[in-house]
Amino acid sequence: MQPKPIALKILDVVSIFALAISTYLALFFAPTELVMGQVQRVFYFHIGTAWVGMLGFVIAALSGVAYLVTKDMRWDRFEVAAVEVSTMFFFLTIVLGSIWARPAWNTWWTWDPRLTTAAVTELIYIAYFMLRQGIDDPEKRARFGAVYTLLGGVSAPITFMVIRLFRTIHPVIVGAANANQEKMSMTGDMKIAFFFALFAFTVIFIDLIWHRIRLGSLQDQVEQMKLHLSM
């Protein structure tokens, strides 16, 4: 087994510090928002996780296409890593969104386009894992996984569009557009906390993806060794 690369070790440390600093900025540095009060501080992480969740989603669809074109198993590992990490971050996004929604709109859940699309994407991911689980041949598993991430990658943006279009025709949800307006009225210190959260989560995202890809190739090596032993 090859040792953990030094660059990855450094990235681990950077990730931890970035998370710590981002937490400090969000909870203590940024000023308390006037209308929302303390709960608004959840917004920095909410946007951070949503951003990398989306990043993972796009990367997964692109690596799916790359796999279908090249048939290189490394793209498959990349795709799985992106989907897994993105699943986790979208889940966090939804939880943080609910924490925000409770005091803001007096409900845990709103059928707001962004939140709903995130939830649908989670369902696509669950379907993706179930699909992969049902296939034994690794090559076929990679092929079907790639096709499905591609379909999801095309469908989820349309889902978002559809929900938003229909909501604008019938504006029933209270304050669905609030998040946007608040972003516009951020003060300088809020902006620092906001952009640092984006940066911190991007670093953490890269770190986790790297770890997951490394885990994937180690798993393959273990399989190969087991096979050698059994022969």
Partner: protein
Amino acid sequence: MIIVKKLIKRFGLKTILRGLDFSVRPGEFVALLGPNGAGKTTFLRILATLSRPSLGQVQVAGYFLPQQAAQVRARLGVVSHQPLLYPDLTAEENLQFYAQMYGVANQRSRITEVLKMVGLENRRKDLVRTFSRGMQQRLAIGRAVIHDPEVMLFDEPYTGLDQDASEMLDDVLRSVAAEGRTVVMTSHDLARAADLATRFDILSRGVILASITQAELQNSNLLTFYKQALVD
């Protein structure tokens, strides 16, 4: 007619075929023998264009696989242990469907000709659902020759047949081979293949271990031993 060089097929990390070399001259009838799990079906599926080689060169009827799969498919007839027929269609409708899929000319007369050859002309209007296993398998052969292929592949065609049905299948196979086609048949039963094939190749652990001709088989006492071993 078939040339295979250093063929390797992997499923994930498992290697099924390990540098297999194999060739068949036009008009030969080769029986591929070997234990279960030796890679016979995998090999045949590659020749049949249903599976892609991982490495190595495969040439069927003068065309390379997998690049020229479409040309190979048009010249290839395949019978597997499943009949590949639709039970809710009649014998005639099944043949008609495959004739259309192969773009066969003069479909009506060709279907009659084929039904006659496999001895099912009086059942042409009956649903395949009502056929016995042996009749289905004979119709499956009719299906496979509908486009008059140059090369034929049989994958364990005797699976699930009783003695009578097997003998009838022998006759059909013989008449198929007699038309000058090149045939590769997998089987795990040497005695069954002994009367039909002109050459016998033993496939084991993903390579061809040995290859003997019909004459060599008759000269040796191998067949006698084999039959004796089956009785014991």
